[in-house]
Symmetry: C2
């Protein structure tokens, strides 16, 4: 089984960067590959965190269901990322559900192996800390946006981020290279599918984007950036918009 996973597959992943080749071989020897179809779950919120994973191909979404039954998107997992590392943070169970949004391939290890990896390589531990640190930053950025920005800005930022991480150049612009619904965009931005639909329609009318069923393509990135930053895109408006908790001028 280990012979089927080339070392090159993991060699350039953030987590394993600077880990010596011989250790990588050990790592790969116990890795368990698996293929997922769209809609398949890698793990469910509340399950025992018995494995951690790396996404090799495809796209996954990680989402939490609140006690009231609402869905909130935690993040999309893109190829090369680790996920399901709850156990590494000493959480016994997965805090969220992870689903494939398209055909995907992941590599899994038993959570018990985590400590082995850490012990063997200080580098590995530092990498893990950096990864989680980055996610913490991302989460704070989102909190900031939810706290201070309006829906249009948040949705614009969300689209831009997706285009950044998973954009694919096409004849007309850059499109998000995996299927995504209005509902999902709403769950990422703290709004409703209705509002997202209205926004995308408006942007489409203005020629900023092109949309289809589960597809979004950005035509005018600059204008979208202007929207994300609070401008009115198209007309260069006065930037002193409404702000929630302004710092007092001296």
């Amino acid at each position: 089984m280990s012979t089927s996973i080339p070392r090159s597959l993991v060699k350039n992943l953030d987590l394993f960067r600077a880990v010596p080749d011989k250790d990588l071989d050990t790592v790969l020897a116990i890795a368990q590959p698996m293929r997922l179809n769209a809609g398949d779950a890698v793990f469910q919120q509340g399950q025992n965190a018995e494995h951690f994973f790396i996404l090799l191909h495809g796209h996954l979404k990680v989402m939490q269901t609140t006690s009231e039954g609402e869905q909130v998107m935690v993040r999309y997992v893109i190829p090369g990322e680790v996920f399901g590392i709850a156990k590494a943070m000493r959480r016994p169970t997965y805090p969220a559900t992870c689903l494939a949004v398209e055909e995907s391939i992941v590599l899994g290890w038993p959570s018990t192996e985590w400590d082995h990896f850490m012990t063997g390589n200080l580098q590995f531990a530092a990498n893990a800390l950096q990864t989680v640190g980055q996610r913490l930053q991302d989460a704070h950025a989102r909190i900031q946006e939810l706290s201070t920005e309006e829906v249009e800005q948040r949705v614009a930022r969300c689209i831009l981020r997706l285009v950044d991480s998973s954009g694919e150049k096409t004849e007309e612009g850059v499109s998000i290279n995996f299927p995504i619904t209005r509902q999902e965009i709403a769950e990422m931005t703290g709004t409703t599918l209705h509002t997202v639909s209205r926004l995308l329609s408006a942007w489409k009318d203005r020629g900023l984007v092109n949309t289809g069923r589960k597809r979004v393509t950005v035509l005018k990135v600059d204008d979208l950036i202007r929207l994300a930053e609070g401008g009115q895109a198209g007309a260069g408006q006065d930037a002193s918009a409404r702000r929630r908790n302004p710092v007092q001028p001296l």
Copy 2:
């Protein structure tokens, strides 16, 4: 200098748990204690992250200023917590500003020492990962709340959390044992000081809390919990409130 810092001060901190005594002594030998008055900054957003710290006494607030000049509270630091560990996540600068909200005492180390601590103790690395992991969870909880709950619930939860971590039993109830303004509560919950004021006033009228200048005391914890969970507190209402992104019933 090291003689002035008793080992017991750090021995029971999460970060140093399970670190052998002799290592602790080394750690303490290079620790730099400092005293802060209310309003003093430990570090400013954007500064080079040259130190990391542990709070020994008092209370600090960590806040970000957005590009538009709004303030968002990241968290309050309570005694025993590490903070300013940007460098450990390979961030060159502090992503936020840290201010004392009352007289406080912190212990600081040069960021360069972090790697030493990590190398010496696998335990230390694991503890750090857990700490950051916990913060990531907290951040996601906040995202969930900002995305799906109404202001009253969020503020109720915020107060409950503060009471939990920094509550002090008094004759009439439990009070938050450090000075906190309506503005600050607003910055934590993504609303405005006006709305927070109105909510606290309403709660006070109903006998749930008592308030003063920079002071909040909770009188009826249970009722506040009910509010936080979306109930109407006092009248046992039907729990099927409005929900943003409900999971489809099968």
